[in-house]
């Protein structure tokens, strides 16, 4: 059954969209990530214009983050104070990102920037995750207890001003660290259409030193506001948010995520992380290949009303 997407201005099969949503939802449930890093390239691949893919993905991520944060909220595993600080940075970063995206589209370089950001970020995070998972598997194999996490921040973090106390996370750290992380993730949401969890979660653990229990909940909490900001800004400035596309993917995504969560119980933590790392690296490799390989047609066209 074909459905005409009013904003993307293309006709797509409903079951393809639902299937994509479900597949990405399954993986996100399995790995506990948003799945934006898979969804945005897939949408572009099926013919959705990049600007519509990113904006619509931001809209969809609001719902995914809300449904994800609920369980953490009930377990009181959300550091609201920390989330608010990150959110302040995130609002600035995402506004900057929306402006940057528009400017790059006019220059004809937006697809290049999207691809390059994906390759760099996914490549880096994928390699780090793979190394970490491999170390964890080796440790378990040899029955070595995991190294205790260093409780202290690096020197350059300790000397930063504007220190704040975060009671839920039980840490005392300069507000500049979560603030700048927020700015960075804001830019990622606006340019790449990702929630940035794959980057935020390790950064919160290793850079800020937050307890693992509150990391995912807090990350989901703050990203709700960032994705809402991107959705609003894109709707007003570029009219590229396709609610019909967002809704279709949401339905598939919600169902897929439930199956994924159940499947994740059957896998070990390190195995899940290693699989996720391989998936992330595969996406990065595909995008890198597309950048390096000689395109079938060196020319492309972009339209604008006269």
């Amino acid at each position: 059954m074909q459905i005409y997407l009013p904003i993307a201005e293309i006709s797509a099969n409903v079951f393809t969209l639902l299937g994509l949503g479900a597949a990405v939802g399954f993986l996100s449930g399995l790995f506990g990530v948003g799945g934006g890093f898979l969804m945005t390239p897939l949408l572009i691949f099926i013919g959705v214009p990049p600007a519509v893919a990113v904006s619509t993905q931001a809209n969809q991520l609001i719902a995914a983050s809300v449904s994800g944060v609920m369980a953490h909220w009930r377990r009181r595993a959300v550091d609201v104070r920390m989330g608010m600080v990150m959110m302040s940075g995130g609002l600035v970063g995402s506004s900057l990102g929306v402006w940057l995206f528009k400017h790059l589209s006019q220059l004809g370089q937006v697809e290049l920037v999207i691809s390059l950001s994906y390759v760099l970020l996914l490549g880096l995070v994928g390699l780090l995750m793979l190394a970490e998972a491999a170390r964890a598997m080796l440790r378990q194999h040899r029955h070595i207890p995991p190294r205790p996490r260093a409780g202290r921040h690096p020197y350059w973090v300790r000397v930063l001003p504007l220190k704040m106390r975060f009671y839920r996370s039980r840490i005392y750290i300069s507000a500049l660290v979560p603030l700048s992380l927020g700015v960075f993730v804001g830019v990622l949401v606006a340019i790449m259409g990702v929630g940035g969890g794959f980057f935020m979660v390790p950064a919160m653990i290793y850079l800020i030193g937050m307890p693992t229990a509150v990391v995912v909940g807090t990350s989901l909490f703050q990203v709700i506001f960032i994705t809402a900001n991107v959705t609003l800004l894109e709707a007003v400035t570029t009219q590229t948010v396709d609610v019909l596309l967002a809704l279709t993917m949401l339905i598939g995504g919600v169902l897929g995520a439930q199956v994924g969560v159940r499947a994740s119980d059957k896998l070990k933590g390190e195995q899940v992380r290693a699989l996720l790392a391989l998936l992330v690296l595969a996406v990065a490799a595909k995008l890198l290949y597309d950048l390096v390989a000689t395109p079938a047609d060196l020319f492309s066209i972009a339209r604008a009303s006269p």
Binding site: M1, Q2, I3, Y4, L5, P6, I7, E9, I10, S11, N59, Q60, I62, A63, A64, S65, V66, S67, G68, M70, A71, G108, Q109, L112, L116, I224, A228, T231, L232, L233, E234, A235, V236, T237, Q239, V241, V243, L244, A246, L247, L250, V254, Q258, L291, V292, A293, T294, P295, D297, L298, F299, S300, I301, A302, R303, A304, S305, P306
Partner: protein, 252 residues
Amino acid sequence: MRCRCALALAALLAALLAAALPAPHARAQQLIADLSSHLVAITTGFTGTDVLLFGAVEGPGDVVVVVRGPEERVTVRRKGRVAAIYVNKKEMTFAAVPSFYAVAASRELDKIAPAAERAREEIGTEYLRLIPEVERDPQTVAEYRAALIRNEEAEGLYAASVAQVSFLGARLFRVNVDFPANVPVGTYQVQVFLFRNGAVVGAQTTPLVIGKIGTSADLFDFAHRHAAAYGAIAVAMALLAGWLAAAVFRRV
């Protein structure tokens, strides 16, 4: 002064009169054509459509149909290698490019009309007048022009081949004009030409409107006219959907 005014008025009246009276060999009489529909509605289930063009000719001749979509600015970009990767390096913008273009004819175009005639009426993609906004050397322009047409053809917005106008008997003709799912909206011009001995002896232009109708049109309109409200609703809808999903699956 007054005399001169009266003279001018008389001349104007004469000109109007001459324009209103039919010319001795009225071109329109030789050819009559119409469309099965003057409005193509893009609804939520739209997957492309075809419109029947039919008509009659007086006397022998060949029929050529040209369908042109509303004009737009198109930027053609050329990729080149920078370090190891391909990036858009050069570009050329064409000012008035038809967003859709298709030709149908009753015979091979070369046999119907000479190049000069086809160029004048812009029959066939090779004769489309595409002018770059910034002047460049002809060879470069030709390269970008070819790329533009190639890309439009790949998207299905320019017909890659000439469709067949079929005659039913000696006078009646018909042709189906195909519009793909990604057809741009706007007012199209359907031009019908009657050629005899390589010259146009009759011509007619019929407008065709392609527009979004129904839910998808309302959504598009709302998103553009009340952008802030649309954004707010999109956010609210996502918040609700997320909350609903969490609430439903909590009990499962």
